[in-house]
């Protein structure tokens, strides 16, 4: 079996932080008590089903819902006519595009259906079975239009156009014809041409990858309940209920304060639950009927209609000196944004070359609409594909020069003070530490067996910070409740609790964290961008420090000394300075008991816009064995090395590393969307959307490197996303090394591997 280790340079000896603690939600989850999206029942609840497009691209000529509405048990039907329309958003657009014109059409098709599975109507009925039958009675007339699935083709002139009002941004003069290419983002520095000229070797390659789904095991589920006074309660499986509230309020033109959104326990998200899908229809149906409405998507609906990450087509060119110095790099990538603009082009741009200092570099990332579901975030959106292209070529350069791939990277690695191509100036970062750890890891130089290949890749990810709120309430028995607003997917409640207990100096079991609804706390951005333990963690630390201040004041009041003469240590208020040792300390428990009779309830809260989350680096080593006759692939060993800043809960950090690696294995080897000639998705279930099962993968070794983030009180960096960034790359490179031939197309499924091996044999003959 594998091993999991930690190596690092972090100081500080803590009681809870950095130690493995039992998760507060654990017992509920192992006993089946935890309530997820689909576990909520309200009295009088109706059941919603959606009618979805069977076409990839078609104009809606008419929708006739009368037969469905006439059915006994059917309480209401909604279509786009019930959804408020919004004008298209106008430039300038930030790195993330927010356009309610698009959102209103994605949740319910208006003029056209744009992908197989696009929502067209929704029915609420007294039973699920009536709702199902009613959906079949809705008549839609379509005029079928030609469709396009490939991002490169879609960006060419003459391709079927999804949005007649979309003209490529930033072109002068403004183009006369609409285009599926929404915009191109990128960066440039130095002089590319000269850089390539000064290189001893320039390698140019093409890569492509398929969209892959987040594959969360819990399908989307919600219950909406609106009342006659316009209040809307929503229970939903989401990575951000505050964000859902904002989107719903703007989309439906309802006051934000009218909403109370509760995040259910969430059964996986990985970025896929960062937006809204069926919630608006459920709310509209509840408003029409005055009854609660529940919607649970089927797995087929999840695969057909919710966003996977983008597929890509990429062209890349890198030049280097014989000694391994990278001189010039140029990358262009086309992302399948899906039916609406908003592919992760900004982040991709940052991902290609950021681990390295390359004086002459350029990236161009195209955001292209195609007839597929609108892409959603998936763990480091946009980064894994870009990383794969860059890392594969850097490995090839190393091989050509006879250099060790890690040594070559070390030669070019970014450090504190360097600026990335997109202008991020790095603070304290762990690129070099991660590379050194990889080089020294026993896996890196372990011998390979016959038919095995090894891949190495380094990944970079710039974390999010942003808006978080937290409040802490000290109860009069000396225990603490923590109210949080970022849904807990990977164990964040555990880390929050550890930080609060550490600050207060009390037993961790005395702290009870909970994710509360939108009416109970200040705004919180998503649990996404690996931001939660960083940003919400800071808010928790602030909130508990406020409690400590208040406790110190209370002690000062009791001792009749000034608050400056009180300090807090290990769960006690201690007299300081001239009173040190002269007065009997007050424990937290004593102070908590005194509070009601003196200062009143003691609470702390914090609302912040966290900055400085910084970057982290992740290296992976993958060994893949190939069946030389069938092209079958098996991962035989896999190691993940990650700079976690500080691992508040090492077990959960390892869990993120292992989970990300296995997602990358699936991405690289077998996961893909298979469409027929009419643009209909063929593999709408887990039997044919091939995510790794337990027997597909080995133990995943982990090595946590700790280079603390000076911007966070405990040195935290995000850990959710980096483990996926280099994973597909490491696996794909391992496959290519095992067969001795370039493939360049993900997934490297057995038929493709066998074809590549056959081509290799032919070439050898």
């Amino acid at each position: 079996m594998s091993d999991n280790q930690k190596s690092g340079v972090v100081g500080g000896n803590y009681r809870w932080v950095g130690n493995n603690t039992r998760r507060p939600d654990g017992v509920d989850k192992v006993t089946g008590r935890a309530r997820y999206g689909d576990d909520m029942v309200l009295p009088g609840m109706l059941h919603m089903r959606m009618l979805r497009s069977p076409h990839a691209h078609a104009r809606i000529l008419s929708i006739d819902t009368s037969d469905a509405e006439a059915m006994k048990g059917v309480k209401a039907v909604v279509t786009h006519k019930d959804v408020p329309d919004h004008p298209p958003a106008k430039p300038p657009f930030g790195p993330a595009v927010s356009d309610f014109h698009d959102l209103s059409r994605n949740i319910m098709a208006r003029e056209k259906v744009l992908y197989d599975g696009h929502a067209v109507a929704a029915v609420a009925a007294t039973t699920e079975s009536i709702a199902k039958r009613a959906v079949r009675k809705i008549k839609v007339e379509y005029e079928i239009l030609p469709h396009v699935l490939d991002p490169y083709e879609a960006a060419q002139a003459g391709a079927p156009i999804l949005h007649e009002h979309q003209f490529t941004l930033g072109l002068e003069p403004k183009p006369k014809e609409p285009s599926n290419l929404f915009r191109t983002l990128g960066g440039e520095q130095g002089n590319l041409e000269q850089g390539f000229e000064n290189s001893d070797l320039v390698i140019e390659r093409e890569f492509s990858s398929q969209p892959v789904h987040q594959g969360y095991i819990e399908p989307l589920a919600c219950v909406a309940s609106s009342s006659e006074d316009g209040a809307v309660e929503l229970w939903t499986s989401t990575q951000g209920h505050f964000v859902a509230r904002t989107l719903l309020s703007r989309l439906l033109n309802l006051d934000m304060s009218k909403f109370r959104v509760t995040a259910s326990e969430i059964g996986g998200g990985f970025g896929g639950k960062t937006t809204i899908y069926h919630e608006p229809a459920a709310i509209l149906l509840s408003m029409k009927t005055g009854r609660p409405v529940r919607s649970v998507m089927t797995r087929g609906e999840v695969l057909r209609a919710t966003g996977p990450t983008v597929g890509s087509v990429c062209r890349i060119k890198i030049g280097a000196k014989k000694d391994g110095t990278l001189v010039a790099a140029d990358a262009e990538i086309w992302y399948q944004a899906g039916a609406f603009k908003g592919g992760p082009v900004a982040r991709a741009t940052d991902s290609f070359f950021s681990p390295y200092k390359i004086p002459n570099a350029r990236t161009a990332c195209h955001d292209v609409c195609v007839n597929r579901p609108k892409a959603a975030a998936y763990r480091a959106p946009g980064a894994p594909m870009a990383t794969w292209a860059a890392e594969a070529v850097i490995n090839e350069l190393a091989t050509e020069f006879g250099l060790d791939p890690v040594e070559m990277r070390l030669k070019n690695a970014v450090k504190e003070g360097d600026t990335s191509l997109m202008g991020t100036k790095h603070g304290r970062i762990g690129c070099i530490e991660v590379l050194e750890a990889a080089k020294n890891h026993p896996h890196y130089n372990a011998p390979l067996k016959k038919n095995q290949g090894r891949g190495f890749a380094l990944g970079y990810w710039l974390h999010g910070g942003g808006l978080s709120s937290a409040s802490a309430n000290l109860l009069d028995d000396g225990t603490l409740t923590l109210a949080l607003g970022t849904p807990d997917i990977g164990g964040s409640r555990s880390s929050m609790r550890a930080m609060a207990a550490e600050e207060l100096g009390i037993d961790i079991e005395l702290v009870k964290p909970a994710v509360v609804d939108t009416a109970s706390l200040g705004y919180n951005h998503l649990t996404a961008g690996s931001r939660t333990t960083y940003a919400t963690g800071m808010a928790v630390v602030n909130a508990t420090r406020e409690i400590i201040e208040k406790l110190c004041s209370l002690a000062a009041f009791k001792w009749e000394i000034s608050v400056e003469e009180v300090r807090w240590d290990s769960g006690e208020a201690l007299p300081a300075d001239k009173y040190a040792g002269k007065l009997k300390p007050f424990s937290l428990k004593q102070l908590a008991k005194m509070a009601p009779g003196t200062v009143g309830p003691i609470a702390g809260h914090s609302e912040i816009n966290a900055k400085g989350a910084g970057a982290s680096f992740c290296a992976q080593i993958s060994d893949i064995e190939i069946d030389p006759e069938t092209g079958g692939t098996s991962p035989v060993r896999h190691t993940v090395i990650l700079d976690a800043g500080r691992a508040i809960s090492p077990d959960y950090v390892e869990g993120q590393m292992q989970g990300g690696a296995v997602q990358g294995i699936g991405w690289a080897l077998n996961e893909e969307y298979i469409y027929d000639d009419n643009g209909r998705l063929l593999n709408t279930g887990f039997l044919d959307y091939r995510m790794p099962v337990a027997s597909d993968v080995p133990m995943i070794d982990t090595l946590i490197v700790e280079v603390p983030n000076p911007k966070h009180p405990y040195g935290v960096r995000g850990v959710g996303e980096p483990p996926l960034v280099p994973a597909p790359a490491a696996v794909a490179i391992a496959v290519e090394n095992a067969i001795g031939r370039r493939m360049g197309d993900l997934p490297m499924s057995p038929p493709k591997v066998l074809a590549a091996m056959d081509a290799q044999k032919l070439a050898a003959e």
């Binding site: 079996m1 989850k29 006993t31 095991i217 649970v296 337990a694 993968v697």
Partner: protein, 168 residues
């Protein structure tokens, strides 16, 4: 719920079964699966719904000693059967060793697959109390987990198996 829904009136069945040792009666239509009955009729939502087609294992329960996907069993078929679900595993306030080891090894993240995996692991260990890592991986292959990469789950079950053998 299976299929297109009923055409006219439903054929109601009255079913008597034993669930976690308790005799239980429920009414269901032919279209209702055991998963539907457990979750919607009996409000035992510990059995999770991940796909409805037997591919993910989240709805695993033990029926007459064998693990099954409750989404692929009709409610009416369990008349006279013995059913075990995740709700029956902890006894009198004490967690089952599998549940305890899942906590000790941090073998869960989002937790949606956890009840199904724990239930499958229990059925599997009853047939194979001392599995190799590979045997166990195949034993759990019908349970998808997207969060953990399986590593900590495998450790937790092997550790629980060792403890269960020692306590036999």
């Amino acid at each position: 719920m299976l299929g297109r829904g009923h055409k006219n009136k439903m054929a109601k069945h009255s079913v008597t079964t034993t669930i976690n040792g308790d005799e239980t009666e429920f009414n269901c239509d032919t279209h209702n699966t055991l998963m539907d009955v457990l979750r919607s009729e009996l409000h035992m939502t510990g059995t999770k719904n991940g796909c409805g087609t037997g591919d993910c294992g989240a709805c695993t329960v033990i029926m007459n000693g064998r693990s099954v996907n409750s989404c692929l069993v009709l409610g009416v078929e369990v008349d006279g059967a013995e059913i075990e679900t995740v709700e029956g595993m902890a006894q009198g306030g004490t967690l089952h060793p599998l549940q305890q080891k899942f906590l000790d090894h941090a073998a869960l993240q989002c937790g949606i697959c956890t009840p199904g995996i724990i239930t499958q692991a229990k059925a599997f260990l009853e047939k194979n109390p001392d599995p190799t890592e590979t045997e166990l991986r195949f034993g759990l292959a019908g349970n998808l987990c997207r969060c953990t990469g399986y590593d900590k789950i495998i450790r937790a079950v092997l550790d629980a198996a060792a403890e269960m053998r020692a306590n036999k």
